[in-house]
Symmetry: C2
Subunit: 80 residues, 2 copies
C-alpha cells in the first residue's frame, strides 16, 4: 500500500537483521494513529544507541517482545 | 526484594490506573539489565506526554502490549 503523502511515520525502512535481547537497550512500540496508520516497533541497541525499525508482523519480533517483557536479569534469578 | 543502592531503575513507582490504547502515544520496554534488575514498561500518554510506569506482570499490561503491537489504525482497516 503506497504511503500517502500525509502520513508521518517514524520508520522509513524496516530492518530484518536478527536482534539479540542482550544487545537491546529498549523497545518502543508506537501504536497506529492518524499520523501513521501502522504500528511501529523501534529497537534502540546498546551499541552506539543505534535505532532499528522492526517488522511488527514478524515472528521473531513477537518472540522478542515476549522475551524482553518477561525476562528478569540473571543476577536476580539466581538470588530469587 | 529491597532494591540495592547500586541499581538505577527508571521507574520508582508503578501506576495501576487503566490505560486505554487510544490514549497512548507510545510504550517503551526496557529489558532487565545490570543497572536495573527488572523489566520496566513505560507508557507515554498523548495527553501532556505524561509518562507512567506500568507493572510488567499485570494481565492488563500484557493485553495492552498485544493490542498495541497488532492493531492497525481504523482508517486503513476499512481501506484494506
Amino acid at each position: 500500500i503506497p504511503l500517502s503523502r500525509t502520513t508521518r511515520c517514524t520508520c522509513i525502512s524496516i530492518s530484518d537483521q536478527p536482534i539479540y535481547p542482550k544487545s537491546l537497550e529498549k523497545l518502543e512500540i508506537i501504536p497506529a494513529s492518524q499520523t501513521c496508520p501502522q504500528v511501529e516497533i523501534i529497537a534502540t541497541m546498546k551499541k552506539n544507541r543505534e535505532k532499528r525499525c522492526l517488522n511488527p508482523k514478524s515472528k521473531t519480533v513477537k518472540t522478542l517482545l515476549k522475551i524482553v517483557s518477561l525476562k528478569r536479569s540473571h543476577r536476580t534469578q539466581r538470588a530469587a
